[in-house]
Subunit: 215 residues, 2 copies
DNA sequence: CGTTGAGTTGACCATCGTCAACAGGAGTGG
DNA sequence: CCACTCCTGTTGACGATGGTCAACTCAACG
């Protein structure tokens, strides 16, 4: 569990005593935007969609949580976004209060938390570049390369990457419509840069995708 | 200085001994993306543009720092973005090492840092919504309302808000071109929602702008 | 004055969104 | 077992939003 990389065995067991492990099925909600944040979570398996809604129903996916990811880094009073399960998910839950107390007792846990939050911030800023200054094709390529890197940390490097989210989710993450996502994925497949497989893609021409995605 | 809200007088004077105050003129660089981050900064007066560049020259402005803002919240090794002065700027500089040592001695300073970083993350996610899911007009309105709120903390609420940045900067912040920013500002002015004044705007129809910007 | 850079405006156009139709698979109920 | 629905994904035709290119104004500054 990546938040705990900083903890010694005693601290780990203290944390474990606070943990509550549970499962939810696909499409179930972990928590919702603007509700009081009672808990923080560590995802053990499965994938989670994190998103914000506008009053008129438009949606912005702000991220996807994969195994190992921590939700609630900010320790804020209210959830900044909604989270629901894309697949069946197992997660490790802590009451925010318990976790906050634990932080007060273990300063290096706070440092760890802060460093993870800083990394999130950096990812969010990269996403701002993608949303603001890239074409649809570049967005797709960046998305695939980014996800590949994240899956590599979870399950090792591979040219086949799982896509537990729908085209709609990808569109709402990249600021595109479903149709545009679908069209461009098909085009990349036609041009032999990728192969579309059930619930994922196989990357054929990684150099080309890297070129499209480059910083 | 907002990072220091958490400090007692002894700690404040310790921090002050580490501080180096300085000024730069407009257009000068505070630090550049990807360079090793030797210092962290607190802006005392003036405004700063924070941005990332793509290899081909496209630019994404990730934020504007106003008086009171802290740069280097993440305490990372390398700068995630470049920063340069929009106006003449006075800032308070700390060596990252000194500041890091100070953090180790004062845990509540770290909590403060973490809470500021979390707030930044939340702003970044709001910006993702703006970039991904709003029309050009909504983007401009959101920008003006957001900036208004931030200036209010610095210099009190006012219907006239300073715009120290160029139209190009605004465009690069919102994922638009200069021309589009210019056209829409002119249109909002023609429709009596705003008045364009030298280096700023006066907001006339705030309810309308709020409606355009609403979450 | 001449130059430079910001801002504005117009004409035109491309990318991507909209709307619509359809295919295929999963789940459901007769 | 089949018909039916629902959902996701795909594809096409069309159009609008916002980008591109170009020209011009104006203020600042030497």
């Amino acid at each position: 569990m990546s938040v705990c990389a900083a903890l010694d065995p005693d601290e780990l067991s203290a944390l474990n005593r606070l943990a509550h492990t549970f499962c939810v099925n696909a499409k179930q909600t972990l928590f919702e935007q603007d509700e009081p944040a009672g808990n923080v979570y560590n995802i053990t398996s499965g994938s989670v969609r994190l998103y914000k809604l506008l009053p008129d129903g438009r949606r912005q996916v702000v991220g996807f949580a994969l195994p190992g990811d921590f939700l609630g880094l900010s320790m804020a009073e209210k959830n900044a976004f909604s989270a629901d399960a894309l697949t069946s998910v197992t997660a490790c839950q802590f009451s925010r209060q318990d976790f906050s107390d634990m932080i007060d007792k273990t300063p290096h846990l706070l440092r760890r938390l802060h460093s993870l939050a800083s990394h999130e911030l950096s990812l969010a800023q990269d996403q701002m570049v993608i949303l603001g200054r890239r074409t649809a094709e570049e967005k797709i390529a960046s998305f695939l390369m980014g996800l590949r890197k994240r899956w590599a940390k979870v399950s090792g490097a591979s040219v086949t990457i799982p896509l537990p989210m729908t085209r709609q989710d990808i569109g709402d993450f990249l600021g595109l419509t479903v149709e545009t996502v679908s069209r461009l994925m098909t085009r990349l497949a036609r041009e032999k840069a990728i192969v579309i497989v059930p619930d994922g893609v196989r990357l054929l021409d990684i150099p080309r995708l890297e070129r499209l995605a480059e910083t």
